[in-house]
């Protein structure tokens, strides 16, 4: 992943003497959907501003298609090839139509083409009917759709999104992110999104970057980052859901059977045979037994496993196991004492089909 | 909202054009040598005499006279600072000092009118017909009758103070002695409103008489004479003054033709002349 469409090297950003960002290298490939996740204050939004050339770093370079972007004019030209959407819609005090057209107008696009594009994107974001509504009279969701339409209408090469859905209620959020997702898929546009919602990141991204204290701690495909956290921080941050990539073999009575590597997992959920899915299992729902529970429990998913790692996490102990795929379980201290678990031990893990959370992916 | 942008731009452009035009226009850029700053008193200005005389002067000489009407005190201060070219004032004692200290030259007598003591028709202090202004004031003080002073260092105020001084009485600080700090016309209105006594120049009184409600109670005393002089500011002290212009104006004020205009000024409107021309006369003949 040498240079990608955008890359940065030795990036340092400071504010008032304090170091906000310190990233030796980072790149984004053309056409990919990259999510940036991390705790508050980790520098995600700052990084986005740097990538958009809206913030000048104290050191380091930004490269676009391999060429350095540094001078005033180069920054300006670069900014006209990309666009950004913020958490607040930041619309102008005029109609929706004019808002969506504003970026095109700034960039000097002709009248005919503007009209064509604005109409198209109003439709794509399902806000056609609001074209002549004043921006002041929009709901949160409608306003954010307008902001997105404005950014997309410019047909940028890269689009940056800074927590675009954080301020919206869940149903609105889902609706809009679905629309966004389909448009991104359709246009193949390179997308960089900062989000707090990990399932959103999971669902939409090709790669996830985890940030902490101004640095990028891990970059990789979602399942890899989630299942193979680089360190304790990432592990704790992404949550310890086991995430398994697989394909749906069949659906029956509301139950999907998913092939994950060599094994089959039963999960309750909605999917169609042939769908690519992620199966997520929360560690609390993974039960460890010393003997084969096949006959004893109602869990549909039982596998023999080997104990790999044992970590202490507050009142629990986190056990990483290998049953052909990586799986994580939480046990209480009492249970741990009873089971007398040790690394390398052979045990059985089981989890109910209802405990498996299915997420359909884009592939 | 493209229209708004256009409005903003055109307004700004208009502003610059307006400024340029304004600065370049003849009215505002009256050439240095052609402008005279005349410092005079409010009573002179308010009488309307200058409105009559100045156009004549300006037409024949081409000068543009900027009349700044303030109290005599301020007028002379302006002269002292060289901020005026010529003065037309009526505060003889202060004027003499002004000339003695070298600020003014060519002090020439122009005209006079007189002051009168006015009061309500009811005349509580019983001063009507009194021949001596000094005595009248004494009576006012004795009766604790309300007296309005201009209190603004004007020529009128200076004369009033001089009269009080002559009575030897303490007048300031008493409840019946009030100072307005206002011009003559306004002070008259206040006096009329409060039914008090006051001293005013006849010119102003005549021009506001219409609805005033104050009567002339004492007049004719020599000490009530109000004498106007024209003084040129000394160019030796202040090289920047328009000495030629000042002289031209002063010459004009004492010229025969001008004096004739002064003689008849106000007759048609008020039934009596407001000023009496005195140019060239010996001051002693006026009883000074």
């Amino acid at each position: 992943m040498k240079d990608g469409i955008i890359s940065i090297e030795n990036l340092k950003v400071q504010l008032g003497g304090a170091s906000i960002l310190d990233i030796p290298s980072f790149s984004i490939s053309e056409g990919e959907f990259m999510s940036l996740i991390g705790p508050n204050g980790s520098g995600k939004s700052t990084l986005l501003l740097v990538l958009n050339c809206l913030l000048k770093p104290v050191a380091g370079v930004l490269k676009y298609r391999g060429r350095v972007v540094s001078s005033r004019d180069e920054s300006f030209q670069y900014r006209r090839r990309v666009s950004m959407v913020f958490q607040e819609p930041l619309l102008f005090d005029t109609t929706v139509y004019r808002n969506v057209a504003s970026g095109l107008k700034i960039r000097g696009v002709g009248r005919e083409e503007t009209r064509e594009r604005v109409t198209r994107y109003l439709k794509w974001f399902n806000i056609e009917h609001l074209a002549h509504r004043s921006a002041r009279k929009l709901s949160g969701g409608e306003a954010q759709r307008t902001s997105l339409a404005r950014a997309f209408a410019m047909e940028p090469e890269v689009i940056f999104l800074d927590e675009p859905f954080s301020a919206l209620d869940p149903p609105t959020r889902h609706a809009i992110s679905d629309d966004l997702n389909s448009i991104v898929q359709e246009t193949g546009i390179t997308t960089v999104m900062v989000t707090h919602d990990q399932s959103e990141a999971l669902r939409m991204s090709d790669r996830i970057a985890v940030m902490n204290s101004g640095g990028i701690v891990q970059v990789g495909v979602p399942s890899h980052v989630m299942n193979n956290p680089a360190n304790e921080f990432v592990a704790n941050f992404v949550g310890m859901d086991t995430i398994l990539e697989g394909k749906v073999l069949r659906m029956q009575d509301g139950m999907a059977t998913v092939r994950v590597d060599e094994v089959e997992i039963d999960a309750v959920g909605e999917a169609l045979p042939g769908d690519s899915v992620y199966c997520c299992v929360r560690p609390e729902n993974v039960v460890i037994e010393l003997t084969n529970p096949d006959d004893l429990t109602s869990a549909r998913n039982n596998f023999p496993a080997v104990v790999r790692d044992i970590f202490s996490v507050g009142p629990f102990l986190k056990i990483s196991l290998d049953c052909g795929f990586a799986i994580t379980s939480f046990v209480t201290r009492e249970a741990f004492a009873v089971l007398d678990l040790r690394e390398g031990m052979n045990v059985f893990v089981s989890f109910k089909a209802t405990a498996v959370h299915l997420i359909r992916t884009n592939n | 909202m493209k229209h708004l942008n256009k409005i903003v731009f055109s307004l700004t452009a208009l502003a610059f054009v307006a400024i340029a035009a304004f600065v370049a226009s003849p009215a505002s850029a009256a050439p240095k040598m052609k402008t005279i700053i005349l410092a005079t008193t409010t009573s002179t200005q308010d009488s309307g005499l200058l409105d009559e005389l100045l156009p004549v002067f300006e037409k024949s000489t081409g000068y543009f006279v900027k009349t700044i009407s303030v109290g005599s005190g301020q007028a002379m201060k302006m002269g002292e600072k060289g901020e005026a070219d010529v003065l037309l004032v009526h505060s003889p004692d202060a004027e003499k000092k002004f000339v003695e200290e070298g600020f003014g030259v060519n002090r020439r007598l122009v005209m006079h009118n007189d002051f009168i003591i006015l009061g309500p028709a009811s005349d509580p202090a019983k001063i009507k017909g009194e021949k001596s202004a000094k005595e009248a004031l004494k009576k006012i003080a004795a009766a604790n009758a309300l007296f309005m002073s201009r209190g603004d260092n004007s020529g009128t105020h200076a004369l009033e103070k001089k009269l009080w001084k002559a009575t030897g009485l303490k007048y300031e600080g008493n409840k019946w002695y009030q100072q307005t700090g206002l011009g003559m016309g306004q002070t008259l209105s206040v006096a009329a409103e409060k039914k008090g006594y006051t001293i005013a120049d006849r010119g102003t009184y005549l021009s506001v008489k219409k609805n005033l409600g104050l009567d002339i109670l004492v007049e004719g005393d020599a000490s009530l004479l109000n004498i106007y002089h024209v003084i040129e500011v000394n160019p030796a002290k202040w090289p920047k003054v328009n000495a030629a212009g000042a002289k031209a104006f002063a010459d004009f004020m004492v010229a025969k033709k001008t004096q004739a205009i002064i003689k008849t000024f106000g007759v048609k409107k008020f039934g009596a002349p407001l000023f009496f021309p005195d140019a060239g006369k010996d001051p002693k003949t006026l009883g000074l």
């Binding site: 300006f76 004043s134 | 307004l11 600065v23 505002s28 700044i68 009407s69 202040w238």
Partner: protein, 232 residues
Amino acid sequence: MDLILEGLITAFKLLMALDPEVLSITWLSLKVSGIATLISVGIGISCGMIVALTRFPGKKFVVSVVNTGMGLPPVVVGLFVTVFLWRNGPFGFLDILYTPTAIIIAQAVIATPIVMGISIAALQNLPAKMRLQILSLGATRMQMVMILVKEARLPLMAAVMAGFGGVISEVGASIMVGGNIKGYSRVLTTATVMETGKGEFATAFALSIILLLLVFIVNYLFTLIQQRERPR
């Protein structure tokens, strides 16, 4: 009461007769205050933008100076301008004391902090990230500034109205630096004071009414524009 009536009648008569002196005084008032307002808008909004939108040391101090300037007594301004412009002052060579130009200068000095102070507040009231959003749309510096001004147009128009209102009604400085010279630097306010001083209350009243009418008409026009801009 009959004074007011008399004043109204006099005002009516003067206007109907198109009394040339009254007309020229009115026109001069409008011209002088109009130009002063335009100057103050030009300086006030542009400097206001710079102060509102850039970060620099001492910014709080500058803003409080501007806010103090908003309450600057016009008479004080008049005094200072006089001292600067009189013959023996630093700008005496310009020879503009007792001219309408001097009144324009004094009024511009009075109005500029008003316009600037309100402009700063108006621009700072825009969402903090708005500037970044506009830049991300690919705007040049100039485009960004124009858009921000457009976004803040309602309060900015109020700033202009406040500036104009402050100077059209100003009298202390106008007398001091203008000299109230007949047919030359006499404006409605200074003429009103003079007539009052002469005791000519009816005329003074008439002039006041004309001034009020003038101010009302101008403000009405501005308000129409301002309120028309409100999106439905």
